[in-house]
């Protein structure tokens, strides 16, 4: 994984961990939605964070949920 990709995914990881202080680590394959780390109410902020990290806005009306389920999937789809 490139350094840039790594740096970008760390931004997302840090955002999720800051929201969930009880969560110690965030493996790349963890299903964030299943684990309720991202839910409908934090979702728009979540894709905003991904957009900021990637430098390309994520269209909230055109989303493939499977691209957002894990940090690895996010990295592959957006970074």
């Amino acid at each position: 994984m490139s350094t840039l990709k790594n740096a970008r995914i760390e931004v997302v990881r840090a955002w999720i961990l800051a929201k969930h202080p009880a969560q110690n680590e965030l493996p790349g394959e963890l299903d964030l939605i299943e684990a309720r780390l991202v839910d409908s109410l934090s979702f728009v902020e979540f894709i905003h964070v991904i957009g900021e990290a990637s430098g390309k806005e994520v269209d909230p009306e055109n989303i493939e949920l499977d691209n957002l389920r894990t940090l690895n999937a996010i990295s592959q789809a957006y970074f």
Binding site: I33, R36, V38, D39, S40, L41, S42, F43, V44, E45, D59, P60, E61, I63, E64, L65
Partner: protein
Amino acid sequence: METVSYTAQWTAAARAVESERGEAALFRDDFARYLAEPKGFELLEKYKGSGVAEYVAIRTKYVDDAIERFLEKTGIRQIVLVASGMDSRAYRLPWPDDAVLYEVDHASLFDVKSSRLEKLSVPRRVRTVEVGVDLAGDWLPALEASGYRSDEKTLWVAEGLLFFLTEVQAHGLLSTLARASSPGSRLITDMTSATLLRHPITQSFLNSLRNDGTPWLFGSDDPPAFLQSAGWTLTDLSQPGEPGAGEGRWSYPVLPRNVPGVPRNWLITGSNG
């Protein structure tokens, strides 16, 4: 009880938890814990993380405040709680002496609710008429037979109800309420956004509700237009977390209404002229 009545216990559980937050609580409903059994806390746990508990707390406070405000400002003395569920406002809000509160819901629910509250020996604070009906049918005649006057101004409260109806049913209900009460009547209600119902992130929550037999069916991205088409003029539209609607209590970002693709909940008041 009807399956949909279990969601009334869920609401009661959320109210109980909020009431037990001490000084931080938005309101105190000391009856809710008694009304939430047996399913309420189970459902609260099952749907933890969906924001439902916080939403119910904020909505309860919003409705409490709107009821008190309307009774004080409009002189309305006839109040109807449509699908009242495990509502305990008759026991806990201050009411004018000459007010009459109609609670409309399934008869089986009243049996459960009354038997639990009677054990507490707490008197109601308003003259209350329970109207046991089939909520899916035409229940207006039963309400009128209980003493309700359609030639009087009315405060209608339909809280936590509309998302369980189809769009046609929701529109039919609000239209009926507008017609069945004098101009100057008020409405307090809430709904979800249509976007919430089709958003990928909410599908597992919505599937669970469907599997529990209580699917969410209706939402609107344009509540003012929806109300207008049903005979109501919107007087307030708030999202949880906005001023007057749990500002500071809602732990999620409140996004401006022009941001597209956002699942939302709406707290609403209206007037029928």
